[in-house]
Amino acid sequence: MATPSINISETPLVLYTLRRADDALILGHRLSEWCGHAPMLEEDMALANMGLDLLGQARELYSYAAKVEGKGNDEDKFAYLRDVRQYRNLLLVEQPNGDFARTMVRQFFYAAFADLFWRAMKNSKDETLAAIAAKSEKESAYHVRHASEWMIRLGDGTDESHARAQTAIDDLWAFGGEMFEADDSERALIDAGVAVDPAALRPHWLKTVADIVSEATLKLPTGGWMQRGGRSGWHSEHLGHLLSELQSMQRTFPGASW
């Protein structure tokens, strides 16, 4: 029998923090799926390392959301006892790993954003979010460099790697827009100096991405239509499958701990 999902009092700050925690947890889990499967040992370790960074960021953010909410939830309950519709991560980060090029394009799009995001978040008037940002931005600087190097290597590599990288860019591009959106609940936090205005990061993100993609001899799609939904809990079919694995232990043995 399935464990019932938890209730969450989604005040703007709780929701805002959970959304960022979910991004980190879900992308971290995707990277962990490469463990033992990466194309070479060094890359296996790199992906696991970055997954660990993201998991660490997720834990800090979940713990903070729990503290702000003050309803007895904690990091484990947020991660293990919420159903798909309660997850608020970007659609981008839940997309399946696919081949290595697809994983790297997803990583590149997100890391280039996260690096800007955490740097800006260091100036938040919320002390805890600013402190989490100060740690996370150092990690994201490594992530974006790693992904950028792979973009160039894949794009400017063989015909095969070039074609795969281009396909991945074309397929994932429509998930990039969601990173720069803010709803009314976030806008209030942005006005209060607590949250980062993501729209202001977009020109910088676009420049980094365009520069690297061009150096990689790849092309950015020209289409402007963007898919959204993850931030309000409408996900692609992939997240449910991911959660069934991530949550299987707690769903099978409710309350199990070690």
Binding site: M45, N49, L55, A130, A131, A134, K135, K138
Partner: protein
């Protein structure tokens, strides 16, 4: 009153020495004081010890272990119910690693981090001396090594691969 203050300062000094002796489980030649992970040791009026540590990386799995090791070490030294608190701010930087720590790392075969962890360019080039032969003719094999805080390098002169403690 003065005696009580002196006793408290003495207690704090003893507790600091005990906590400072705890080693990093993944780099056992370094103590948490060498690493700069140990930030503060305070003694409350009723004699309870509160230790403050800061994580190196967000996801560093050694932090849980270090917390337990500190509590155990203090309990063994007679400080029961000591508390360990983790703070994120100010964020840890490799600049906090002591000179002794850098020397011990090098002797252990790990290249110590450069000082002044400044933000590097996207493809900034670093020069890291081989901890075995000292040559600067080295190359990076992977930005991500055996733990979150290390990268994997290789010396082109003596051909030894080595860990480099990343600047952070």
């Amino acid at each position: 009153m003065v005696t009580a203050l002196i006793e408290k300062a003495e207690l704090r000094r003893r507790a600091w020495d005990v906590a400072a002796g705890v080693v990093d489980p993944e780099i056992p030649v370094l103590t948490i004081a060498d690493l700069g992970v140990l930030r503060e040791v305070a003694v409350t009026d009723d004699g309870q010890v509160e230790v403050t540590i800061t994580p190196t990386y967000s996801g560093c799995p050694a932090m849980n272990m270090i917390t337990i090791e500190i509590e155990l070490a203090l309990a063994r030294a007679g400080f029961s119910d000591a508390r360990v608190r983790t703070v994120l701010s100010p964020a840890w930087t490799t600049d906090w690693m002591s000179e002794a720590g850098r020397r011990k790392l090098r002797e252990y075969g790990i290249a110590p981090p450069k000082t002044s962890a400044s933000r590097r360019g996207l493809f900034g080039v670093e020069q890291v001396a081989c901890p075995q032969c000292g040559s600067l003719d080295t190359e990076v094999l992977s930005e991500f090594g055996s733990t979150s805080c290390k990268a994997l390098w290789r010396c082109n002169r003596c051909r030894e691969p080595f860990d480099y403690f990343k600047c952070h």
